[in-house]
């Protein structure tokens, strides 16, 4: 096992440009007759500074792939490097801590804690990296204000609209300036206008020179926010394109 200290924050060369590097990734759930081959050999690089979309039919392995990229799931075979670090080779607690400061998550079901205000929810990633309460809350309020929620800081999730909730979830993913942001179907519960707004925010705040965003979706209306789109089918990457029109017109 590697020690946490061997994790590279500023890895040179390749890691400057490649955020996530997947080589020959397979994932098998279960075993024997019940085995499900969710990923059948994925080779994919996510570049720093890009927004990559993963698209494909339900059950093709999109969620499984971003779970492995984000370090919340271990692959069965192959290698996945996150900014040059092989998370499957790191002790559990070090991996959890590294994931906490390196990855921002937007979950399909948002997972905002209903007993906490918007600001408190957004403060959690900071609290988990050791920032004290007042500072964390202050930063969280700033982030929410940048997303136009300055008059909703102390509202509870039950008091917010769908679009506002989605923005709170994105604020939570961005607040600690993670280098990789993963979003699983961020617009599936939103109307088109709100979906566009949300992706606008993710693009403008999440993508930077040394950062990358991976968005899983099958919402063609947001394809144009992508720098590249990887099309998956049955556990494989079928093709990668930089032109969304191609996909929209293909039935």
């Amino acid at each position: 096992m590697k020690q946490a200290s061997s994790l590279k924050d500023n890895a040179p060369d390749q890691a400057q440009t490649v955020a996530v590097s997947c080589r020959g990734i397979t994932k098998v759930y279960g075993s024997g007759d019940n085995a499900v081959h969710a990923l059948r050999g994925i080779d994919l690089d996510v570049q720093s500074g890009e927004l990559l979309m993963l698209v494909g039919p339900s059950g093709c392995g999109k969620t499984t792939l971003i779970s492995i990229m984000a370090g919340v799931l271990d692959q069965t075979a192959g290698q996945c490097l996150l900014f040059g670090n092989d998370l499957s080779q790191i002790a559990a607690n070090a991996k959890t801590a590294y994931r906490g400061k390196t990855v921002g998550f937007v979950f399909q079901s948002l997972n905002l804690v209903p007993m906490l205000t918007a600001a408190e929810n957004v403060a959690i990633p900071l609290l988990l990296t050791g920032v004290i309460w007042m500072d964390a809350l202050h930063h969280a309020e700033e982030m929410l204000s940048r997303m136009g929620l300055q008059d909703r800081l102390h509202f509870y999730p039950s008091e917010l609209s769908g679009g506002q909730l989605q923005r709170v979830a994105i604020a939570r993913a961005l607040v600690h300036s993670p280098r990789l942001i993963v979003c699983d179907e961020p617009t599936s519960a939103l109307d088109n206008v709100t979906g566009q707004e949300v992706l606008e925010v993710v693009r403008s705040l999440g993508v930077a020179k040394d950062r990358a965003v991976v968005v899983v979706t099958h919402d063609a209306r947001i394809y144009h926010f992508a720098d590249r789109i990887a099309v998956m089918n049955d556990g494989r990457i079928e093709r990668i394109t930089t032109s969304p029109q191609e996909l929209v017109t293909v039935p």
């Binding site: 984000a70 959890t96 007993m115 408190e120 990633p125």
Partner: protein, 383 residues
């Protein structure tokens, strides 16, 4: 994340309240039932509590507990006085006699007969009158609760408490009330009457052996237990240090009555019901929040952090429940302290019920923690 843990806990009002109610109920039952039990047990040696001055109690060797009374011959007093290490020894009479009230009713009394010369063995606190008045003709001192309950005087316009100067007939002997005293509540509810030893002997039915106890003070530096053993060896009488005789008495009641069983059952029931209610609700609370714990895990919360959050939640509700439960139990004990209600809450009992509640919290947290530790961070992406 500690603040987050508490906000999550309190944010779910309904569960928060029912977890706390469960733990309050458990703490209340555990503390109160055990407190009543200890209170009752303490009453079995109340006479000894009022006679802290005696280091050693000497009695017939057959005696098994304080109210198990066999008489000795008066001459035993001189033999005990002669034992090396005895500072002083005085006779002490304790027995039951029957009194006839003015209106003809009969009432049993506990009679305490104390040394005529020294008046050692008197009540711990006089409320009215003076202990020395016992030396006057036919004088008795009555415990204040007995005086205002069982021994009330019936008059044309209703009952009134006994007053100084009132006359009781004890075994056909005239007795004049000269004072009232406060005593530690005894096991029985009979009124307690103090008089001199010689008068007690005179009032009691005549027997050859009439001396139930000899109270002994040890010389400075003499070990009480050793002296008791020496008195026993030399005189053949039963002799115990006050602490040992208390233990002997409590032990007798523990072995020979259903009291410990009754209260033990209620306390255990409180423990179990409280654990079940609090445990079930807390577990449900954790299950409801499993999704959020998984989210925290994905966002960088280690198992250690989650463990601390859950323990904090469990001990927070535990502390609140214990505070409320033990508080209510103490309050009931405090409000009812003057009457017949037996309740004794030594710090050891508080500590023990706090330990019992901690045990509940640990158990309750343990099942939830197991669930959370096993959680795969990956499940957060599942709808």
């Amino acid at each position: 994340m500690n603040a987050i843990a508490l906000k999550m806990l309190m944010g779910d009002r309904a569960k928060y309240v029912s977890i706390i109610l469960g733990l309050t109920f458990a703490s209340l039952l555990i503390t109160q039932q055990t407190g009543i039990f200890l209170g009752i047990m303490a009453r079995t040696f109340s006479t000894m509590s009022d006679l802290e001055i005696a280091d050693i109690w000497v009695m017939d060797p057959m005696v098994q507990y304080l109210d198990d009374i066999y008489g000795m011959q008066d001459t035993q007093l001189y033999r005990v006085k002669g034992v090396d290490g005895v500072e002083w020894a005085v006779p002490f009479y304790k027995g039951q006699l029957r009194a006839r009230l003015k209106d003809g009713r009969f009432q049993s009394l506990v009679v305490m007969g104390i040394d005529d010369a020294t008046l050692i063995g008197g009540p711990p606190r006089m409320l009215e009158g003076d202990l020395a008045d016992l030396r006057r003709t036919d004088a008795i001192i009555v415990d204040s609760i007995g005086a205002s309950t069982r021994l009330t005087q019936r008059e044309a316009d209703g009952d009134r408490p006994l007053r100084i100067g009132d006359i009781l007939e004890i075994n056909d002997n005239r007795a004049t009330v000269v004072g009232f005293c406060l005593v530690t509540r005894p096991f029985s509810t009979m009124p307690i009457v103090y008089m001199t030893y010689s008068r007690a002997k005179q009032y009691a039915p005549q027997e050859r052996k009439m001396l139930p106890f000899i109270l002994v003070k040890a010389k400075d530096g003499v070990d009480h237990r050793e002296l008791a053993d020496r008195i026993h060896a030399i005189t053949g009488l039963g002799a115990y240090s006050t602490a040992d005789f208390k233990r002997l008495t409590v032990g007798y009641y523990l072995k020979n009555t259903a009291i410990p069983l009754n209260f033990g059952t209620s306390a255990t029931l409180g423990f179990l019901v409280g654990t079940a209610v609090a445990g079930q609700t807390f577990y449900n609370f954790t299950l409801d929040n499993l999704k959020y714990f998984a989210t925290f895990k994905a966002m960088g919360a280690t198992n250690g952090v989650l463990l601390r959050m859950i323990l904090l939640q469990a001990f927070f509700v535990g502390g609140t429940g214990f505070g409320l439960g033990a508080g209510i139990a103490s309050l009931i004990g405090f409000v009812l302290r003057k009457g017949e209600f037996a309740f004794w809450l030594p710090w050891q009992l508080l500590l023990a019920s706090a330990a019992a509640v901690s045990l509940i919290c640990l158990g309750v947290a343990a099942i939830s923690i197991r669930k959370v530790i096993r959680l795969e961070a990956g499940v957060v992406f599942k709808g």
